[in-house]
């Protein structure tokens, strides 16, 4: 068997870590070697905010708090060399100018679960810290509003702790008494003070408008409470958690292979785009290098989903501006896209088609014609959308300079993807950190200027054009070869080899029934998903299942940023902004 493994170089030895050690001395505890592609530094919790501040003030600053979450380390067996910890909180910072990341980890013991808050340094930390509190019960000293964010306020327990059951059958049967119902109802009563809002100003009462979780323009189960003066938004508070399904918890009891279908449903308009960061991260752990054909097939299908997702965006975005017809046109285009996707993968929205070490099947006969039909159909339609809508005076009036923010503001709140590029920041992972062979493709990264609702819409039309360009190159230059890597950890293994002899049969049986066992390491893969940067941070403990799967989704910080741009706007502006963010609640709540 051809062992086509790849050795992933350790990223230690970076000058930055040396500088950190010099500046902070023994407050920098340990440098962990991982497959995450960035230095991972354990620090003491007292030094944490200073370190974050230091990194943010560097000449080429780490100015984007990319992710913040925690790991329950109590059941982890392979911890050689790591500082002792019951829980770990990790902070992943990103530097746009350096195009580099760094991860800080803080070890905590179970009897003292508290970390100083990072909200003063990175405002985006607010929701992340609330999520860590909600899921792990780790408190953040000095946090302005440390309450549950994904679970209901009346919930008991912290679901992502290892001692919290993962299966419904491990709980007692659910009962709801009359008193219980009354307590739940009472907990839902809206108190402006609890949300940090005042009831009146200068003797004039504000109106509190509850928009969602069932509202035509909330794009799913999303709620915003508006503090209104007339129709002017004085303040607003987004409320999430209505779509929480515990995907990260599920990852801890699914085999590496059987978690793939769950990823499809994270950004449910993104289809196989969600599989990509997950399988790439797993392949890093497994040391699998996939054939070129797999890379190109993956890119092609991911770009197909970028187009169908952007078409959905475009239709609903224009509908939120009150235009009734475009959504029907974009949906019929999207239908043509799904015809192609269905022809190739056999499914429409959630194909779960990527596999560890390849894709599920080879491309069917005649796939070129199918894809080419779609490629020929789309460009005139995109032009039509521009002519009918983006050049329409009312649309321009509704969107120009509405909910505008600049690059600095975007980075402050952790905005990525098209919403970041609409501010003029040229940061597209497909160019900056090519994965799955994106460096072999010829395409441009469209940029906006004003970072307003209009730019966010126009930019996505342009992105669809670039995606069509990439797919065209896939059609023209599809490499020959296998659709699965020739590697012992490829799951499921190629079936043809199963019946060769008893050894291959047993291997196949084990791979399919138990799933592959991956070595204890940590890996992380980011991709430029449909809505921004999506990544899977996998911690393996040498088992058939993940020890911890952290899913960083772009929509989560995008929603957190809403109040900062909407203050002083009108209700219709908020609706336009919601339409232009392009979020799905499954991507926010996971």
């Amino acid at each position: 068997m051809n062992m086509d493994t790849v050795s992933i170089s350790d990223t230690s030895g970076d000058n930055l870590v040396k500088a950190l050690k010099q500046t902070f001395g023994d407050r920098v505890l340990y440098e962990q070697s991982t497959y995450t592609g960035m230095p991972v530094v354990w620090v003491t919790r007292y030094a944490l905010t200073h370190l974050l501040d230091y990194l943010k003030r560097l000449t080429a600053p780490y100015d984007l708090l990319y992710d913040l979450s925690a790991i329950d380390e109590r059941l982890r067996t392979h911890r050689q060399g790591l500082p002792p910890a019951d829980f770990t909180v990790f902070y992943q910072l990103m530097s746009i100018t350096r195009n580099a990341d760094i991860m800080l980890k803080v070890a905590l013991s179970a009897d003292d679960l508290s970390v100083p808050t990072a909200v003063q340094v990175f405002p985006a930390a607010n929701w992340y810290e609330r999520e860590v509190w909600d899921m792990f019960g780790i408190s953040f000293a000095g946090h302005p509003h440390l309450t549950r964010i994904l679970m209901p306020p009346t919930w008991t327990g912290h679901p992502l702790r290892k001692d919290y059951p993962a299966r419904a059958t491990e709980f007692d049967p659910y009962t709801l008494t009359v008193e219980g119902q009354e307590t739940e109802q009472e907990a839902m009563r809206f108190e402006p003070e609890a949300w940090g809002m005042q009831r009146e100003r200068d003797g004039a009462e504000f109106m509190f408008l509850n928009l969602g979780p069932n509202h035509p323009s909330a794009h799913g189960a999303f709620r915003v409470v508006l503090q209104l003066d007339g129709e002017e938004i004085v303040d607003c508070v987004p409320d999430i958690g209505y779509h929480h399904r515990g995907a990260e918890k599920m990852a801890e009891r699914q085999s590496w292979h059987s978690f793939i279908p769950y990823t499809d449903r994270i950004d449910y308009t993104g289809g196989v785009m969600n599989n990509l960061p997950y399988v790439l991260a797993v392949e890093k752990l497994a040391g699998i290098k996939v054939p070129d054909r797999v890379k190109v097939i993956r890119v092609m299908m991911a770009e197909m989903f970028r187009i169908t997702s952007h078409l959905l965006f475009l239709g609903t975005y224009l509908q939120d501006l009150g235009a009734m017809s475009p959504v029907f046109y974009t949906f019929s285009d999207r239908q043509r896209g799904y015809a192609v996707i269905e022809g190739i993968t056999g499914f429409r929205m959630h194909p779960a088609w990527y596999r560890i070490g390849g894709v599920m099947q080879d491309l069917p006969h005649g796939w070129e014609k199918l894809v080419q039909g779609f490629l020929d159909w789309m460009p005139p339609r995109l032009r039509e959308y521009e002519r009918a809508m983006m050049e329409n005076a009312i649309v321009r009036n509704r969107t120009r300079h509405v909910a505008a923010f600049d690059t600095a503001e975007a980075l402050k709140w952790g905005i990525t993807g098209p919403n970041l590029r609409a501010t003029g920041c040229d940061f597209d992972l497909r160019k900056q950190r090519p994965y799955s062979g994106y460096d072999q493709f010829d395409f441009e990264v469209p940029l906006g200027h004003n970072g307003d609702v209009f730019d966010r819409g126009q930019l996505r039309i342009e992105e669809m054009r670039q995606s069509l360009r990439i797919i065209q190159q896939c059609v023209n230059h599809m490499p020959a070869g296998d659709y699965k890597a020739d590697h012992p950890l490829t799951t499921p293994p190629p079936r043809e080899r199963m019946l060769e002899h008893i050894e291959t049969l047993i291997t196949h049986f084990l791979q399919v029934s138990w799933g592959p066992v991956l070595k204890p390491q940590e890996s992380l893969q980011m991709v430029e998903a449909t809505k921004g940067i999506n990544s899977y941070y996998l911690t393996s403990d040498g088992n058939t299942m993940s020890y911890r799967t952290r899913i960083r989704t772009p929509s989560f910080p995008h929603l957190q940023q809403i109040p900062s741009v909407m203050r002083g706007g009108f209700v219709p502006d908020l609706i336009a902004h919601l339409g232009s963010i392009d979020f799905v609640m499954a991507d926010v709540d996971r």
Binding site: H215, E231, D320, G322, S325, P572, D573
Partner: protein, 325 residues
């Protein structure tokens, strides 16, 4: 038969006409709800309702059955009397305006010398229906819708009246039949083009049709002032909107497009053809345009339409004085 006087015949004939027109308009409003959905389907590359009866023709029957048999529900937090009054006002005020529309030389309900003024009065009453409906519902979305509606209607009624004064000046009368008669040789669309444009805008705004549907703005206010209404009370708002469309179309035809005048075809056919043309325009507007922000709608009314109507009125007056002199 000495008691059967010609006056009595006239009275019965008038009542008969009124009844036919009343039922005709209500029925037309109801049919339009389905016709619009079919047309929107056509323009939006889809079928629209095509399941009930051949080509979906019986959809209206299904809708009617549904709406009649729905529970007549009043929210406990609503203010009952006003809540009930609002849809009646919405439906009745626009329907009553048909009193003044001359359909053909022989057909029409009333021949009033105050004609147009009667329409303005009823259009003024119509805004109360939205205001009361939104206010009495006890719902914040409804309240916002009602506020938008009253602000918008106030702004647009100012120049709606003024936009027609040119026509009145040229015809020398508020009477609709005299206005039609004055257009025998030249439709008022030519000399009163700006009057026509501004009246069209105001007409769309008065009926709360897209792109002036800010009071109900589904995406923003989740249907605005009638959010709490269901069953037949909602039906009256709904059909009322279509009756309003028919009314404004008929008014435009009467005031600017020569009413029943036209070669070869009988007067009624001309009237019907012209009116359906404008009804189609209403539907097409809804399919084609996004919704402007409501403060921009207001400033458009005050800063563009009002000055335009005033200039139009001044110019009309000046030309008439000059020609007259």
């Amino acid at each position: 038969m000495s008691w059967w006087t010609p006056q009595l015949t006239a009275i019965f004939w008038g009542m008969f006409q009124a009844l036919v027109i009343l039922l005709g308009v209500v029925l037309l409003g109801a049919v339009l709800t389905v016709v619009e959905r079919r047309f929107l389907g056509l323009w939006q590359d889809r079928y629209g309702p095509n399941r009930v009866g051949p080509f979906g023709t019986l959809q209206l029957v299904a809708d009617m059955l549904k709406i009649f048999f729905k529970e007549d529900w009043i929210p406990p937090f609503a203010s009952r009397g006003l809540f009930l009054l609002a849809p009646v006002l919405a439906f009745a005020s626009l329907l009553l305006s048909f009193l003044i529309i001359p359909i053909t030389p022989g057909w029409g309900v009333a021949d009033m010398h105050i004609g147009l003024l009667f329409f303005f009065a009823l259009a003024g009453i119509n805004v109360y229906s939205v205001l009361l409906g939104g206010w009495s519902s006890g719902n914040k979305y409804a309240l916002l819708g009602a506020l938008r509606a009253s602000a918008q209607t106030l702004s647009y009624e100012v120049f709606m009246g003024l936009s027609l004064m040119g026509v009145v000046a040229m015809a020398g009368s508020f009477n609709m039949r005299e206005i039609v008669a004055a257009q025998e040789n030249l439709w008022f669309i030519i000399p009163q083009f700006f009057g026509f444009v501004t009246f069209l805008v105001a007409g769309v705004a008065v009926t709360h049709r897209a792109p002036f549907d800010q009071p109900e703005a589904e995406q923003e206010l989740a249907d605005g002032y009638h959010i709490e209404y269901s069953g037949m009370k909602f039906g009256m708002f709904f059909i009322g909107e279509y009756v309003g469309m028919v009314l404004v179309s008929a008014l435009i035809v009467t005031l600017f497009f020569g009413g029943w005048h036209g070669p070869l075809l009988p007067p009624f056919v001309w009237f019907a053809l012209k009116t359906s043309g404008f009804l189609l325009l209403f539907m097409l507007l809804r399919a084609a345009l996004p919704r402007p922000r409501y403060d921009r709608v207001m400033s458009f009314g005050w800063k563009v339409c009002l000055p335009l109507t005033l200039i139009n009125l001044l110019a009309t007056g000046a030309v008439m004085l000059w020609v007259g002199a």
